[in-house]
């Protein structure tokens, strides 16, 4: 069976700030990032759908010790975001100084942006990643 939304297709859309997901033909749940089966009911009856990219932060951390090859990125903030359509996804937050990230981030509404991780010697090419922006900033 064909993989409905392969990484490369998801990655290309995300580079243009478009977030693709999968809608389940069986239960209606949205799955993102893509996988073979519906995250809710395990059905393979999935169809590609564009998501809003809007959601709220559920948790965060500021990474001070980065993996080999990514030392110049640190410190950087990682967030998990609960999308309006349901799924949680992981991304970065570049909209504030990383040292100042605190518990008041949790619950803040955000909207989608993206950046590229060019990959390292162990990864198979570049990878786009969500870089969220505050949606409630004046």
């Amino acid at each position: 069976m064909e993989y409905k939304l392969p990484f490369r297709q998801y990655h290309k859309a995300l580079m243009k700030n478009q977030l693709l997901g999968l809608k389940c033909g069986n239960c209606g749940a949205i799955t993102c990032p893509p996988q073979m089966s519906c995250r809710s009911c395990s059905s393979y009856d999935l169809e590609v759908t564009q998501l809003s990219g809007n959601g709220k932060i559920t948790t965060y951390t500021t990474i001070f010790v980065a993996p080999e090859g990514r030392e110049t990125e640190a410190p950087y903030i990682i967030v998990m975001v609960e999308l309006d359509e349901g799924p949680w996804i992981m991304g970065n937050l570049y909209d504030m100084a990383p040292e100042r990230a605190g518990m008041d981030l949790i619950g803040r509404p955000v909207t989608l942006g993206s950046r590229i991780f060019p990959g390292d010697r162990y990864s198979d090419g570049p990878m786009a990643r969500p870089a969220f922006l505050f949606a409630d900033k004046a």
């Binding site: 990032p33 996988q35 965060y60 001070f64």
Partner: protein, 393 residues
């Protein structure tokens, strides 16, 4: 299924920059385990070996068949298990199955790792390989980052202030280092720490500081498993593996909205308790996967020792101490004993077996009268394995 016993245990020193190779360390632990039950190499029918980073640390893949032949287990089937930090526990579970099924009577199972040979930057990179590579490594997730995300989620989900959680997490590292000083194999056997040292350490991934994190480590640990009938001839004190569990998780973000509870651990522990016919209240001693201080709190809850949101109180109340309600990580845990990841599950099982046999009085860390013990191991983003061990005499 037949009953399966642990009849021998071996454990090397754990530490940083140890002078021996992964194969040499495994061989030393294996021969110690075999000597405990007076077992010769010709009697061993199969080898099961946890090893995660041999390829990166020593340029050595497929370590298992070299180990088997070095030990004189000529031509026996040898299998390597890669389940990140849970590798050896998964290996023990499979080794159990092969003996329980009647295929083999006596097997050797363990793990070996030389993580410090990689150096911190490469080790941080390879440890992050246990996270999902496309969607979660891209934003720069590290292994401390995984539990750092859970720490903030824990504080917000259960309405625990970060200050309170900070105090509890510090107590956990302090307790582990205290008991680590009583374990002659521990990486930090000479190092007690204070809560102020934990809370004042440099930040690795907020809110986790250096002493919230287990170290990179080298070392090996090995067990000999035998069928009930074979065990009777090999030892007076067989420790039976009476319960086993194993479960898998998806990438971290896909574990929502169950987080910060780890569903796979709850399921794995339930399997192990059910198979052994015990409840969390029956556990006399537990070695749980404290890769980070917050991980201990979450694990204690998942394993049924505390309600969700209340795990930290176990350490505050002293319930986790050697004479407490549920002694936890009296070996020093991953934090102070060290965490050579492919060996960790075998090290935990080795510690529980020695506790149940009453071997540890001289070291000052014997839990009096322990009859039933639990091993809990978490691998990377997605593997949990649990063992229930019970004294069989």
């Amino acid at each position: 299924m037949r009953k399966v016993a642990v009849v021998g245990t071996g454990h090397t020193e754990f530490g940083s920059d140890l002078p021996k190779t992964e194969i040499e360390m495994f061989c030393e632990a294996a021969t110690e385990a075999m000597a405990e039950c007076d077992l010769g190499p010709q009697q061993v029918e199969a080898l099961f070996c946890g090893n995660v980073f041999g390829d990166f640390a020593e340029g050595q893949g497929m370590i298992q068949s070299f180990i088997a032949n070095e030990l004189g287990f000529h031509n026996v089937p040898a299998t390597r298990f890669e389940g990140a930090c849970a590798s050896a526990t998964v290996a023990i579970r499979d080794a159990f199955m092969w003996v329980a099924s009647g295929c083999y009577d006596i097997v050797v199972v363990g793990g070996t790792e030389k993580a410090t040979a990689m150096g911190t930057p490469l080790a941080t990179r390879t440890f992050a390989m246990g996270a999902e590579a496309k969607y979660e490594f891209a934003p720069g997730l590290t292994f401390p980052g995984f539990f750092a995300l859970l720490a903030h989620l824990y504080a917000s989900t259960y309405n625990v202030s970060l200050e309170k959680l900070r105090e509890q997490m510090s107590l956990i590292s302090v307790q582990s280092h205290y008991y680590g000083t009583k374990n002659p194999h521990a990486q930090f056997r000479h190092k007690e720490i204070t809560p102020e040292q934990v809370s004042g350490g440099f930040m690795v991934a907020s809110p986790l500081r250096l002493l919230d994190c287990c170290p990179f480590s080298d070392g090996a640990a090995v067990l000999v498993l035998a069928s009930e009938e074979a065990a009777k001839k090999l030892t007076d004190k067989p420790v039976y593996i009476t319960g086993l569990g194993q479960a898998s998780s998806p990438r971290l973000s896909a574990q929502a909205p169950y987080l910060p509870r780890i569903r796979a651990r709850e399921l794995s522990a339930m399997q192990a308790y059910k198979m052994a016919g015990v409840t969390p209240q029956d556990i006399d001693i537990c070695e749980l996967h404290d890769c980070f201080s917050i991980a201990s709190i979450i694990a204690a809850e998942n394993l049924g020792f505390a309600q969700a949101g209340e795990g930290g109180r176990l350490w505050e109340n002293g319930d986790t101490k050697i004479d407490g309600k549920i002694p936890i990580n009296i070996s020093g845990g991953l934090k102070a004993k060290g965490h050579p990841i492919g060996a960790t599950g075998a090290s935990q099982a080795c510690e529980i077996v020695r506790q149940l046999r009453g071997d540890l009085a001289d070291s000052g860390r014997q839990v009096a009268g322990a009859k039933t013990g639990l091993v809990d191991t978490l691998g990377g983003d997605g593997i949990i394995a649990n063992l229930v061990l019970q004294a069989g005499w």
